[in-house]
């Protein structure tokens, strides 16, 4: 081990943060870039399924809450892109990787939002699952990422409460509204569980990430936390649990639940989701349409610079 490596591992061992200026192994850097950029892309692509309902939100208050939430997601995206840039990759490179399919985003956003209730379900379940993961990432070994997670977690908790509250209003509303809430729960519960990734035994990146303390808890442990916390929430709503096999296991101190349909998980990731193409096409279209605007800014700034230089001369 080189002295650099020793120093790196000592820091990891001591739960000290690795900072941008510190030496780090290439694989550590690559893995972080993969993970943080994927996280950033998920925030950005995640604007679309919820954004799909901004113009149809059924009350002004809900419209404002939703707008604010989607705006926060854009903010998280921005924040995470910046964190990732400290590792030596530019935002435009990351965007290109997203648009060409080289970088991934959370597959949950390949599912369509079909009713207003889906907005609530995403806030409650999808943000809920994200938080379970992100809370553990607050202790991640890379400084900028860790600090980003601390900040993001606060807002996400707020979103989750708002999402749950939106679903609660529906669950306690008219029969149609309640049916809408149940339908959204039934559709988003399983994909939310899959957000934690494959079983530990089949997770490609997990082991190394745990050693590096990029990842702090295993997929299955995090998933279990989410399953456990969600049971009570569903009860309060008065909705039916989508998992008929859900059962408290006294011995484990956890809920037992059904096996997940991993075939569907992989199928959606591999292109068979309703929105895989749509999300990327939307992103590309908005980005391309924005090109003349970005060009205008460059041209304007160039003119101002030239003028300033002339005046100075």
């Amino acid at each position: 081990m080189t002295p650099q490596e020793e120093q790196f591992w000592a820091k990891i061992e001591a739960e000290e943060k690795i900072e941008p200026k510190d030496w780090m192994p290439d694989d550590y850097r690559k893995n972080l870039i993969r993970q943080i950029s994927q996280h950033a892309h998920s925030e950005v692509i995640g604007m679309q399924p919820e954004g799909n309902w901004i113009t149809r939100a059924p009350s002004l208050r809900r419209k404002a809450v939703l707008l604010s939430k989607v705006q926060d997601e854009a903010g998280h995206g921005l924040y995470l892109y910046s964190a990732c840039e400290t590792l030596g990759i530019s935002r435009s490179e990351m965007i290109e990787q997203l648009q060409t399919g080289k970088a991934k985003y959370s597959s949950i956003f390949n599912y369509p939002t079909l009713t207003w209730a889906d907005v609530g379900a995403i806030g409650w379940l999808v943000d809920g699952a994200a938080i379970v993961n992100q809370v553990s990432l607050q202790r991640t070994s890379y400084g900028p990422y860790s600090r980003g997670m601390i900040r993001i977690c606060k807002e996400e908790s707020f979103h989750q409460r708002q999402g749950y509250e939106a679903i609660l209003a529906l669950a306690k509303g008219s029969p149609d509204q309640k049916a809408m809430a149940q339908d959204a729960l039934d559709r988003f519960y399983w994909p939310a569980l899959m957000m934690f990734g494959p079983h530990d035994s089949e997770s490609a990146h997990s082991q190394k990430s745990m050693q590096w303390k990029i990842k702090r808890e295993t997929n299955d442990d995090l998933r279990q936390k989410f399953v456990d916390q969600t049971v009570k929430q569903i009860e309060v709503l008065g909705l039916e649990h989508p998992d008929k096999a859900i059962k408290w296991n006294e011995e484990r101190g956890h809920y037992d639940s059904s096996d997940l349909n991993w075939d569907e998980f992989w199928s959606v990731i591999n292109g068979n989701g309703h929105c895989n193409r749509q999300r990327i096409e939307h992103h590309v279209a908005a980005h391309d349409e924005g090109e003349w605007v970005r060009d205008a800014i460059s041209a304007y700034n160039e003119k101002k610079r030239a003028k300033k230089a002339q005046n100075a001369a």
Binding site: V44, M47, Q48, G51, I54, T55, R56, A57, P58, S59, L60, R61, R62, K63, A64, L67, S68, V70, Q71, A74, G75, G77, L78, Y81, W116, A166, A169, L170, G173, S174, D176, Q177, H282, A286, H287, E289, G290, E291, W292, V293, R294, D295, A296, I297, A299, Y300, K303
Partner: protein, 253 residues
């Protein structure tokens, strides 16, 4: 209901309509902006307008005192009942179009709100106080954009000039008065907008000129928003905005 109260109800509704319609149009940009910072900015501005609409409607509902709430005003009136200025309902168009419309609106509020702040009506004055702060930020933003787009590339200049030409004829009715507004202006409650055009024109002209954009001649003017006589755009917008609310009558959200 007294004449003045009825007029104030109508006035608050009009101002609420302006806000909700423009706020909705801006919200159509979310996730469609030229870069992420702009998505955030659009979200901010849209939120300000939705917030303003809620304050105006809540006040209107209070004056109406007929059991309606802010959402009844927003979601249960059709385009013949909406009283917003036509400028606000024009479709989002391209980025230049939206920013030029925003500039026209922001300058309008810049000259309008300080007057409304003087209103004898405390609620209207309080709303104006809050809105003035927001408008400062809005105007800084739309002004910057129009400068950069107007004096950017050939293409951005062309698009900006086109947007100005296309929207100019919708700005005239912003300064029209009718009996309702005259009554309120006379009472020191509402603003006499007919006196604001010079100030608006001067600010807009200064900005457009700096942006190398030609100020159009006043060769045409479309009017009707305040009487519920809208362009075909508003109906489509309200269709989308109201569908969930209307499909579930009487529900709470």
């Amino acid at each position: 209901m007294s004449d003045i109260k009825a007029a104030t109800l109508e006035y608050a509704t009009r101002l609420g309509d302006d806000s909700v319609v423009l706020g909705h149009r801006i919200s159509e940009w979310v996730s469609y902006g030229p870069f992420l910072e702009e998505d955030i900015a659009y979200g901010n501005v849209s939120l300000d307008y939705i917030g303003r609409a809620r304050m105006f409607y809540t006040y209107a509902a209070e004056l109406a005192a007929d059991g309606r709430d802010e959402d009844d005003f927003a979601f249960m009136r059709n385009d013949r009942e909406y009283r917003n200025l036509l400028l606000m309902e024009m479709p989002k168009g391209d980025f230049a179009y939206s920013q030029v419309r925003q500039l026209f609106a922001d300058v309008y509020y810049t000259v309008l709100l300080p007057e409304l702040l003087q209103s004898k009506d405390e609620t209207l004055s309080a709303i104006a106080a809050k809105a003035i702060k927001e408008t400062k930020y809005h105007l800084r933003r739309s002004r910057d954009w129009v400068l950069r787009l107007g004096d950017g590339t050939e293409e951005s200049h062309k698009r900006t000039q086109k947007a100005v030409d296309q929207l100019w004829g919708y700005t005239h009715e912003m300064f029209d008065m009718d009996e309702t507004e005259q009554l309120l202006a006379d009472e020191g409650i509402g603003v006499d907008v007919s006196k604001l055009r010079d100030a608006w024109l001067k600010m807009v002209t200064d900005i457009l000129t700096e942006a190398t954009i030609t100020v159009p001649e006043d060769s045409w003017a479309v009017r009707g928003g305040r009487t519920g006589y809208h362009t075909e755009n508003l109906g489509h917008m309200l269709t989308e905005m109201q569908i969930v609310h209307r499909s579930n009558p009487g529900c709470k959200w």
